[in-house]
């Protein structure tokens, strides 16, 4: 059974692990200004998820309906905010007819940095509204990242273990309690998602 040197080694490893956990608490927050795109994100990679009901003043619950029941309908809006505002305007007029593009959050609470194979895809993406980013790689690997004003999660992945989907969401309020912190990582597809909370 366990000998004295075994115990010594085990205690040593746990001590090192505890020290590293301590260091990780002291790490400075990721500086967004150092995060610049290595690869430009294709404009059609972003898909806005439409809210099911128009911005109804009489029924505010409608906007908080569970995701599963919604039919995510794509509004092909380019990334530039100027352009997306332009496409939004006619949609708002027709609000009574079809689903609306999601309302923009009053305050952006965080940004999302997407890395594929060690290269950053696009500039940090503001968590301003409900949207899905599709990351396609040349060899057929696909990951879909769902961003809402408060959370980020891996919605879909072609990888075999689906660990990234199982890692759940990173919430801007509760990420400190997550084991992976601000990260969601898909090792088989070499994709990492980092949520960077915006300063107050």
């Amino acid at each position: 059974m366990l000998k004295r040197k075994d115990w010594l080694l085990i205690v040593l490893v746990i001590a090192v692990a505890a020290a590293m956990l301590g260091v990780s608490r002291l790490l400075p927050k990721t500086d967004l200004s150092t995060k610049t795109a290595d690869v430009t994100l294709a404009p059609d990679a972003i898909e806005y998820v439409a809210t099911p009901a128009p911005e109804a003043t009489e029924a505010p619950e409608a906007t908080q309906a569970p995701q599963a029941t919604q039919t995510p309908e794509a509004t092909e809006a380019p990334q530039a905010t100027e352009a997306s505002k332009a496409t939004q305007a006619p949609a708002q007029e027709a609000a009574m007819v079809g689903p609306m593009p999601p309302k923009q959050a009053e305050r952006v609470r965080g940004y999302v940095v997407l890395t594929v194979g060690g290269r950053q895809y696009g500039e940090p993406i503001p968590m301003d509204r409900d949207k899905v980013i599709t990351l396609k790689q040349d060899d057929g690997k696909v990951n879909k990242v769902h961003i809402t004003p408060e959370t980020v999660y891996m919605e879909y992945s072609t990888c075999e273990n689906q660990d990234c989907v199982g890692q759940g969401e990173v919430h801007v309020d509760t990420y400190q309690n997550r084991i992976l912190g601000t990260y969601i990582i898909c090792l088989p597809n070499n994709v990492s998602i980092e949520m960077v909370p915006a300063g107050d």
């Binding site: 004295r4 040197k5 088989p188």
Partner: protein, 170 residues
């Protein structure tokens, strides 16, 4: 013992397939979905057995074969790099520790499991370009590695005890 070489080849094949089957079974029962990379690592007890009973060279070949096969089975080249990174570092540490007096097979197994995780994280840091993983994620895997390593070490110890008895009689 008429044909030692053929016997060795057969045993290697048996052990390799045993490692792969253990790996496949573990995949079906993830210990936790929230912490990727945490697994029992029963394949390591096979490698431990080979290290103690068959020698360094054979163990090295087994480790390489496992990495290569994981590429073929999961059709994912990245899976091979992670397996290789973890396997090389882990085997090196286990070889060194198995020669230190006063360290039992359980201690060797625990440290081997920990360094398997260290190797994997190092590969992940290189491939994903995220050095923060070293301090945020590695400690979690180190602690889980100690626990699972002790468990697989106990398994290897028990298996070896019984196999020695069988071999002694035969």
């Amino acid at each position: 013992m008429r044909n030692k070489r053929a016997q060795q080849v057969a045993l290697s094949g048996l052990l390799t397939s045993l490692m792969l089957v253990f790996g496949l079974i573990e995949r079906q029962f993830p210990l936790t979905a929230a912490i990727p990379g945490v697994k029992l690592g029963l394949a390591n007890s096979v490698l431990l057995y080979s290290l103690y009973m068959l020698g360094i060279r054979q163990s090295f070949v087994l480790m390489l074969l496992k990495a290569l096969m994981s590429w073929l089975i999961y059709t994912n080249l990245n899976a091979m790099f992670y397996s290789l990174g973890g396997g090389l570092l882990s085997l090196a540490v286990m070889i060194l520790l198995s020669r230190v007096r006063g360290v039992s097979i359980i201690g060797v197994s625990a440290l081997g499991a920990v360094f398997f995780n260290v190797g994997q994280i190092l590969v992940a840091v290189l491939m994903l370009n995220t050095p923060q993983l070293l301090v945020t994620y590695l400690p979690v895997l180190m602690i889980s590695g100690v626990v699972t390593g002790v468990l697989t070490g106990v398994v290897a110890q028990m298996v070896m005890k019984h196999l020695k008895t069988i071999n002694g009689r035969g």
